[in-house]
Symmetry: C2
Subunit: 249 residues, 2 copies
Amino acid sequence: MKCLSCKEEYGDRNAGTCRECYEEAGETEEELKRQIVELDSKVNFLSLIAISPKFVPTANPRCFSDVVLVASGPPESDNPHCNSPSIPAHRAVLTSRSPVFRAMLENEMEESLTGTIMIRDVSYDTLRAFVNYMYTAEACLGENMACDLLVLSEKYQVKHLKNYCEKYLMSTLNWENSIPRYAFAHQHGAKSLLDSSLSLILDNMDKLGKREEYVKLVERDPRMVVEIYEAYLSKQVNTGLSKDRFVKA
Amino acid sequence: MKCLSCKEEYGDRNAGTCRECYEEAGETEEELKRQIVELDSKVNFLSLIAISPKFVPTANPRCFSDVVLVASGPPESDNPHCNSPSIPAHRAVLTSRSPVFRAMLENEMEESLTGTIMIRDVSYDTLRAFVNYMYTAEACLGENMACDLLVLSEKYQVKHLKNYCEKYLMSTLNWENSIPRYAFAHQHGAKSLLDSSLSLILDNMDKLGKREEYVKLVERDPRMVVEIYEAYLSKQVNTGLSKDRFVKA
C-alpha cells in the first residue's frame, strides 16, 4: 500500500500509522506551528529593539534613557580610566532583568546616585551585546562572545542569557575544545556544559594524558583533574566494567 | 497490521504512513515543541511584568516610572475632572509600543512636559489592562473588555493588542451576536472580524429581517446594511446560484 506522506509503496514490515492517526498528527503539527507564529509575534512585540543599544548606541533624548553603562579596563591596566563610550539604558529594564542591577539601582548606591554603572574587565562590544540582550533576548554569538557573555550574565544573574550562551557552547563542543570548556564551565557554574564536556572527556580517557591542555590544567588547577578521575572511576564502578577496561587500556 | 500510534489493527484501506515517515513526523513534533518551550521562555524574559501596572498599580519610586496615565470621564459627563487613580508607566515602553505615544512623548506636547497622559472615554480598569498589555503582551478578556481594548488599541495604534482582541471576538462569534459584531468591526476597521461576521450573516439571510439588531442597524446606519445586501448579491452571482436560491427562499 501507499504511504500518504512520501507516496512510496510499503508492506506490513514497514507499517507506521493508520490514516486516522496520520491525520491527527497533521492537525497537531498545524496547531504547534500556529502556536509558534503567535509566540514569535509576542516576542517581536515585547522586544525593545527600538530603544536597545543596537538601535540607539549613544545617548539620545528620544530614547528616555535614565542611566548609562561604561566598560572600563581592568584595574591593573595602564590607564583604567580610559573608558569606551557610554551605553545608554533604562533603569526599569535593567532592574527587570537582573537582581544585581535591581539591588544596585533601587538602593542609594553610587551607581544609582550618579546614573553611571562602571563594568570592569569587559570590552565595549561585549557590554553592548550584553545590554542589547536585555532589550531583545537576542545576541550574535561566536566562541569568545559566548564565553564573555556567560561570565557577565553570571555576574549580573541574567539567567536567560547564561542558558543561551551555555547552549551555544554545548552545540559547538568537541574533543578538541572539551578540556578548556570543562575548566570554563567548572569556574562559572555552567552545570549542563560541565556535564557534557566531562562526558566527552570520559569517552576519550585513553587520549587524555597526551593533550597539552591536560598538562596545563594539572599545573593550574589539579583539583579539577581529580574530579575527572573521580567521575571516571565512578562511571566504571557503575557500569561494572572496571577490571576489563583497565586491562584493555 | 498494527498502527504504531493507536496500536489498533488496520488494513490497506486505512493505510496512513510508512514507518520512516511516522518516525520523521515524531521528530518534527519534538523539534516544534522544543521551539515552543524556547519561545515561551523568551516571552517570559522579555515581559516587564515586575514593573507593569498589574504588579505596581500606583506610583512607586522603585519602578522608575517617568510618566502617568489617567482615565478621565467623557467630556460631556457631569464632572469630567473626577479622575481615577493615575497609572504609572515608562516613556521608553509606551513609545516602543505605540506610534501615537511616540509622537506625543518625543515632541514637546503637553503630555510630554507635564508627564501626565489623560485618556478620555475609558474606565480605569480598561486603561490599566491596556497599559499592562504593553508590558506583558497579556490581557484577561471578556466580551466588553475585548471591545474596549480594541477601541483603545486602534486609537493608539497598538496593532498586536488589536489583533489579540479581534481574535478573541472571532472565537466567540455566533449568530446571536453577529450583527452587533459586524457593526463594531465596521466602525473600528477590524477586517478579519468584519469578514467572519459578514460571512455568518450571509449564511443566515433568511432569518436576518426578523432580528431586532437588524431593525436597529437599518435605523442607525443604513449604509452598513446596504453593504450586507451587496455582499449577498455578489456571493450569489459568484456561486452562480442566484436564481435557484431566490426561488427556494
